[in-house]
Amino acid sequence: MHAFANPKRFLSLARWLTPLLLVSGLLLAGAALLYGLLWAPAERLQGDSVRILFLHVPTAWLAMGGWSAIAISSLVELVWRHPLASLAARASAVPGAVFTAICLATGSLWGRPAWGTWWVWDGRLTSMLVLLFLYFGYIALAQAVDREGASSRIPAIFGLVGAINIPIIHYSVIWWNSLHQPPSITAGKSAMSPEFLIPLLVATFGFSLIFGGVVLARMRALLAEIQAEARLRRKALGDSASRGRGVTA
């Protein structure tokens, strides 16, 4: 793991991996969404409204995956003090929040025709909304830490504590009666016909690649910011030092 502790080595890897992930992810997710919109069959009960599945479910998984990435990076930062871990956690927050928002919006649009309501306060919907607020809290905290120059371990602790919501989201439809359906895909089996399952998995893979690409791009941007600041500081120090010499000479 510490092989990539050197930002230079990370940057040389991320430089070609970022566009590769973004382009292949956009192609795969775009193809799966197009298939879902135009060629996937209508569902037995839901008809054409099922097509939103191919956007709703990948974004829901990645919303949870994004916080899992924050939690794992936070653990690595707190325990091993890996220099890139706090950057990885911070870089996952905004795409995670965006995917959560897309998941909530598409779920609401889907709920109107499928359930007869835009929103209900059942366990799944409520815990997903809590996840969005946790993302907002994490982003605000990370920015405040940046501004005040406080330790990046503060958002890391928040990221770890917030991870308790992830199993709650997953089990909300199993523990409690809810309007949201129970999971269609569980370990090793699927209650979904292959006409729906295969494009769903392709879309999920594509969106995951996009997520990875965005995280790498944001990590590069954060690293560049840190380097620029360090360079400015060095320059300011150098200037004042040379001025100081000028006065004494």
Partner: protein, 152 residues
């Protein structure tokens, strides 16, 4: 180093202890919420513990196949909500969601009348986890399997 542990391992132990405490607290909270966080009562719970008629509650379950009847006024429907162990008769006047069909899930919002009939003000359809294309719905199970195998 007084404890003899490397700082790295000390931090790992501390973080793991904190995680165990958080997960324990979360599990306890979820356990305490196991009744309150449910979105609706199932017929068995409603029969065992009938809510008072002035209390708004939700009732959820399957619309029993063959139980759906329309009153002579044309807008009031009656059906049985079933959870495999008990059933509750439901009365509703109004527009039902598209996915409201016999044999499918429903959540009714309303109150339990004194006569044991649930009077619903609103119906929500609950679909299950099965996703099957429309073309396959009229086939028998064996035909479905064959059709699915062909597409694989």
């Amino acid at each position: 180093m007084t404890s003899g542990l490397k700082p790295k391992h000390q931090r790992l132990v501390l973080v793991l202890l904190a995680l165990v405490a958080i997960i324990g607290a979360g599990t306890l909270a979820a356990w305490a919420l196991r009744n309150q966080a449910s979105y609706f009562y199932v017929p068995k719970e409603m029969m065992a513990n009938p809510p008072s008629p002035d209390r708004g509650v939700r009732l959820g379950g399957m619309v029993k196949a063959g139980s759906l009847k329309t009153d002579p006024d044309g807008v009031t429907i009656r059906f049985l909500v079933d959870d495999g162990e008990a059933e509750v008769p439901v009365k509703f006047s109004g527009i039902v969601p598209d996915l409201f069909v016999e044999g499918s899930g429903v959540v009714a919002e309303g109150h339990l009348g004194a006569d044991g009939t649930f009077v619903a003000d609103n119906l929500l359809a609950k679909h299950d986890e099965n996703y099957v294309p429309r073309e396959l719905q009229d086939m028998t199970e064996a035909q479905k399997r064959m059709a699915i195998e062909e597409t694989n």
